[in-house]
């Protein structure tokens, strides 16, 4: 799965997520958008969970199978997989690769 397809899936989730937020809190559609945990993070705990669930739903639409993003595997990662949209796309790619292998 290309990084571009995965990012496009995340951007669809961002579009949906932004409809629920005031414009000042909108997430930008860029691989560098900070999400959670870094110094510029946009999301609090509820925001993170809401966003991750949307990404899981759109990922299932796109890739035809359910993936679980916020779980034990995410906690065990060496780097925070939710720090930016780009990090999240890398993490999704790894999960898809592992599950295909």
């Amino acid at each position: 799965m290309t990084q571009e397809t995965i990012l496009h899936t995340i951007y669809r989730a961002i579009d949906e997520f932004n409809t629920l937020l005031p414009t000042s809190q909108h997430l930008a559609k860029s691989p560098h958008t900070p999400l959670f945990g870094g110094s510029q993070a946009h999301l609090d705990s509820m925001g993170l969970v809401n966003f991750i669930i949307l990404v899981e739903q759109y990922a299932e639409d796109t890739f035809g199978r359910a993936i679980s993003l916020a779980d034990e595997r995410a906690m065990a990662q060496r780097h925070n997989p939710f720090e930016t949209t780009g990090a999240l796309a890398d993490y999704i790619a790894r999960i898809l690769d592992e599950e295909t292998a």
Partner: protein, 449 residues
């Protein structure tokens, strides 16, 4: 001044040049708190806010809010603690608690007074007036959406802080209107300790505060620990000052505890347990990586009846303003928490009810259903909890529309409506669209509320 307040104020005077609070990265000494308290006291008297007055205090932890809370207690007022209620809840709160005056402390630590039209006459308030004791009112979630107003005699609530304990720099994680927040505040003050306040509860902010202000105790929820482990914010800060992490308010997943014990091998992890109705019990965890805990202390007795924990406490509330007394005839409070027993130790397994615990916040499905049911186009709704690795549980809803509608647009509309009318943790993160009657039957409500 009541005996216990006298003792606490003597301790504050003894620690007058010690740091009491860190607020916006600035240190405030016990003598600062004492002088602010005197100024607020004069202000209250000038405004005719006297013994027995019912005063709502809406504030985050700050030098002024602590000084105001202390002044109100010394003045023998009944203090209704408030945080940020959802729109529409404020008026209901004032009416339920029969609030005569509102005091709000803003982000710049300035006080704003607001006279309110309610006149208190509740029998529980009459008990406090007769005893000539100050009171504290906290809100806890109720099964059908109304929040239960819990009335405490402040002197019995504070009694457990009579004995001196450890002087440790502590981070103030829970808000002031939460029983855990009150416990952190008075535990720290009663030991002449410094309480470090934070502007938000992100892992980044908290790790920075620990490093910068040499925090020794971090009292948090298991959800925060999940988020901390995930964010790895601890790797960017020196947390070597940290000696204890205490956790409570929701069931700790064994995997989170073990991961946390491994990540912080030099920190002792301790479980806390309390309810809004009984106060926070003294506790002792078997080990850092163990969920077995001993509960009790001189002021508390515990027993397990049919697998459910019951508590008898000196600090138990007088009762609810807006609900019948929940105590057994012999004075025990039925917590609703299922526990396992092993000798003197207990393992908390969680609520034996339909309550959904979202990151330490209790959500009653009926409260959310009531808000969704108000929406034009909703025929039926069932709200239920679903396990979530980060928050423990999340709120979900199954909806059946009254007429043909565009599901994605209508789901967005429902979420928006919920965000406007409910606290963030109550808003369903997943909404399942049910358009056929037979499928809907799987989600039919079976509860009786």
């Amino acid at each position: 001044m009541t005996d216990i307040l006298e003792i606490l104020f003597n301790r504050f005077r003894g620690a007058s040049t010690a740091e009491a609070l860190i607020w916006q990265d600035r240190a405030f000494l016990y003598q600062d708190l004492l002088s602010r308290r005197s100024a607020v006291q004069n202000d209250l008297q000038n405004r005719n806010i006297t013994a027995g007055s019912v005063v709502a205090l809406k504030a985050d932890l700050s030098p002024q809010s602590v000084a105001t809370l202390l002044a109100l207690l010394v003045q023998q007022c009944i203090v209704v603690m408030l945080s940020q209620p959802a729109a529409g809840q404020r008026a209901e709160t004032f009416r339920t608690a029969q609030v005569e005056y509102g005091i709000q402390i803003d982000g710049a630590d300035h006080m704003h007074y607001q006279p309110l039209p309610y006149r208190p006459d509740h029998p529980l308030y009459r008990q406090l007036w007769k005893r000539q004791h100050p009171g504290v009112v906290l809100f806890s979630s109720g099964t059908t959406g109304e929040r239960k107003a819990v009335v405490h005699d402040a002197t019995t609530l504070l009694e457990k802080y009579r004995a001196r304990r450890y002087n440790l720099r502590t981070l103030a994680f829970m808000p002031l209107d939460h029983i855990g927040g009150m416990d952190t505040l008075f535990y720290a003050l009663s030991n002449g300790s410094c309480l470090v306040t934070i502007p938000d509860r992100s892992p980044q902010t908290i790790c920075r505060a620990i490093e910068r202000h040499q925090v020794e105790v971090l009292p948090v929820s298991p959800t925060f620990l999940n988020l901390l482990l995930l964010s790895r914010a601890d790797e960017h800060h020196d947390l070597s000052s940290l000696k204890y992490i205490t956790y409570g308010a929701e069931v700790m997943p064994e995997s989170t505890l073990k991961r946390c014990a491994a990540r912080f091998p030099h920190v002792t992890l301790l479980q806390k347990y309390g309810t809004t109705e009984t106060g926070t019990l003294r506790s002792k965890s078997e080990r850092s990586d163990s969920l077995w805990v001993k509960l009790g202390g001189a002021e508390f007795q515990t027993r397990v009846v049919n697998g459910i924990l019951q508590i008898k406490a000196v600090s138990s509330m007088l009762g609810y303003l807006n609900a019948p007394s929940p105590f057994t005839a012999d004075g025990w409070f039925i917590t609703g928490d299922r526990v396992e027993v092993h000798g003197d130790y207990l393992k908390i397994l969680g609520r034996n009810s339909e309550v959904i615990n979202v990151g330490g916040e209790k959500v009653y499905p009926a409260a959310v259903e009531r808000v969704i049911q108000e929406i034009d186009g909703v025929h039926e709704v069932t709200v239920y909890g679903e396990k979530n690795p980060l928050l423990g549980n999340v709120v979900c809803a199954a909806i059946q529309a009254a007429r043909p509608l565009d599901p994605p647009a209508f789901i967005r509309h429902i979420k928006r409506h919920c965000r406007e009318h409910l606290p963030p943790h109550h808003v369903p993160v997943k909404i399942k669209w049910i358009d056929t009657e037979p499928e809907y039957r799987h989600f039919k409500k079976t509860r009786h509320v």
